[in-house]
Amino acid sequence: MYNQEKCKFSKTHEWAFVEGDTAVCGISDHAQHEISDIVFVELPKVGAKVEAGKSCAVIESVKSAADFYAPLSGEVIQVNENLNGNPALINQAPHGDGWIFKIKISNAKEEENLLSFDAYKATL
């Protein structure tokens, strides 16, 4: 579990759980609720460079396809392969088994641009 109170959030509803120089990323509970039943996730490749605020994955539901914007810049070191067979994990546990990928952070300063859980909640 990536306790949401310890996560940092983007205004576009992604979260980052920072541990040292790595961060696990996913989408917020609010976002999974809005997107509704997720049917497909297009994951980035391990080794791909992601840039904060830029689209790097796609989350598809029966309603629409939504871009996933990287909350922080870095290199993807692990992706959640389980989402390929079971994208509903994001709906069931957006802060747990529904994590999306893990990056090695390239610019730690960017964390300052993200919101705390309380500040994020206030934007909803």
């Binding site: 809005e34 039943d37 049917v39 497909f40 029966v62 309603k63 629409s64 994208p87 509903a88």
Partner: protein
């Protein structure tokens, strides 16, 4: 549910050729199949019943009100079908020499003149086979226009544009730059200024936009775009809200496409055929696709040589039957009447907007153009747009477009078009009111809707996660 014809097959025959023998074939025996193909075999009566029953399941404009937002499902007069089916049109081959196809060429030529008058844009191609194909053509023209300036790699698309706009830009090799709309659902000028620059090749604007709103700042927008050296593209799929009232060229538009199959009353849906003509201002004329019709005062001919052209975007002349229908439509009205048509499209949408105010609020609470985007009431979170759409089917209405545009939560996009009567609009608003009241009383009626259609609630999630196709 009606079974597939192959499932019904029972070995009967519709036609028996008494005494006829299979003729000898010139094909080598090794190429001949050993077993008969598995074709459905039924009596003529069963075939007629099968297809008649299927046709009765059809939910279409000829049977129901079809307020599918963004799609302009207006009535298309049947007389145009007769006109474009005349043998003089249907019997010519696209490669027939121009001497023998003067009539058809004249229609294309004259139609272009009418479009010029309506839009103020000087030159047109009618080749593109759909709106998005028109966008593609427009983006290629922009690329050719900027051929000498390799830095112009970006196309700016507001979040209220048709989804095809960013897709088109990406397909033509441009980087898509999205800008967020302001609180009134319009282009945010400050956001636009931030991203406009020497890298911008074009700005693609849907006008009126997908929220059904007119961009009041259009003159300022076009000024900014041109000052940055970029082109302004107008997605004119919603032209039926403006036709006869305002000319896109007067607003600073450089390139636009129109959907003949929407604005000019040619049938659409089910994948086409469509026609997405593209118009440009004089300076861009030579870049248009090859195959434009020219007239030397005596004879019409097809232009086949022009080094500056982006080339052909479709074989031959485009979907001519659609062009003939659209031409017939335009010839029926003068400019003033076209303006009345646009005003009626706008009036009908606003009539529904005001009538539904206490049940389903318009997301942008102001006068809309030809369509209005509603949302579900804030104090009824369990009422989903999907339920409203499905329940409408029970009540005899085609569902509106839902969950689009993306900037509106629980969006219900209603486009009544100008061809519907007040009585139909009233019946629709009564149905919407009924749904609102049902939701207050017992939401389960809605959750399990539709109840009266051939197929009830389908599990879209399961269908998407574990697709199991059969035919």
């Amino acid at each position: 549910m009606e079974k597939l014809i192959i499932e019904k097959s029972n070995g009967a025959r519709a036609v028996v050729f008494n005494g006829a023998k299979t003729p000898e074939t010139f094909l080598d025996k090794k190429y001949l199949r050993k077993n008969s193909p598995k074709l459905p075999e039924l009596s003529e009566l069963d075939i007629v019943r099968h297809f008649t029953n299927l046709s009765r399941l059809n939910f279409c404009l000829d049977t129901h009100f079809y307020p599918l937002g963004s799609c302009t499902m207006k009535y298309n007069p049947k007389s145009y079908d007769v006109l474009c089916s005349l043998e003089n049109f249907t019997s010519i081959h696209p490669l027939t020499p121009a001497d023998y196809t003067q009539g058809t060429l004249e229609i294309i030529y004259n139609f272009e003149k009418l479009l010029k008058e309506i839009t103020g844009l000087n030159a047109w191609t009618l080749q593109p086979a759909a709106g998005a194909h028109g966008e593609f053509t427009g983006a290629l023209i922009a690329r050719a226009y900027h051929a000498k300036d390799k830095n112009r790699t970006e196309i700016i698309v507001p979040d209220t544009a048709h989804g095809t706009n960013p897709a088109t830009a990406a397909m033509c090799g441009f980087k898509v730059v999205n800008i967020k709309s302001n609180a009134r659902g319009r282009v945010d000028l400050e956001e636009l200024k931030k991203v406009l620059g020497p890298k911008t090749a074009m700005v693609m604007l849907t006008l009126p936009n997908t929220a059904g709103l007119f961009e009041y700042d259009i003159l300022e927008i076009s000024k900014l775009v041109h000052a940055a050296g970029a082109l302004l593209y107008m997605d004119g799929a919603n032209l039926n809200a403006l036709i006869g009232l305002v000319k896109p060229a007067d607003m600073g538009v450089d390139i636009m496409h129109i959907n003949l199959h929407k604005t000019f009353a040619a049938p659409h849906g089910g994948g086409g055929p469509g026609a997405g003509g593209v118009g440009v201002r004089e300076e861009l004329k030579d870049l248009l696709p090859l195959g434009r019709v020219s007239f030397d005062g005596k004879k019409y001919s097809l232009e086949i040589k022009n080094k500056k052209s982006i080339g052909q975007v479709k074989s031959f002349w485009g979907n001519v039957a659609i062009i003939i229908r659209a031409y017939a439509y335009l010839r029926q009205f003068d400019g003033k009447t076209l303006g009345e048509i646009a005003k009626n499209a706008v009036l009908n949408a606003n009539y529904i907007r005001v009538k539904l105010k206490d049940y389903f609020p318009a997301f942008f609470d102001e006068v809309c153009m030809h369509e209005c985007v509603f949302t579900t009431p804030k104090d009824m979170p369990s009422l989903k747009a999907l339920y409203v759409a499905k329940r409408l089917l029970d009540l005899g209405f085609h569902a509106p477009t839902i969950y689009f545009p993306l900037i509106v939560p629980q969006a219900l996009m209603v486009e009544p078009t100008e061809t519907e009567s007040k009585q139909t609009l009233d019946a629709f608003t009564r149905a919407m009111k009924q749904i609102f009241e049902e939701a207050k009383k017992d939401i389960s009626i809605l959750e399990h809707a539709p109840h009266k259609t051939e197929i009830g609630v389908i599990d879209e999630v399961l269908a998407a996660r574990e697709p199991n196709l059969k035919w």
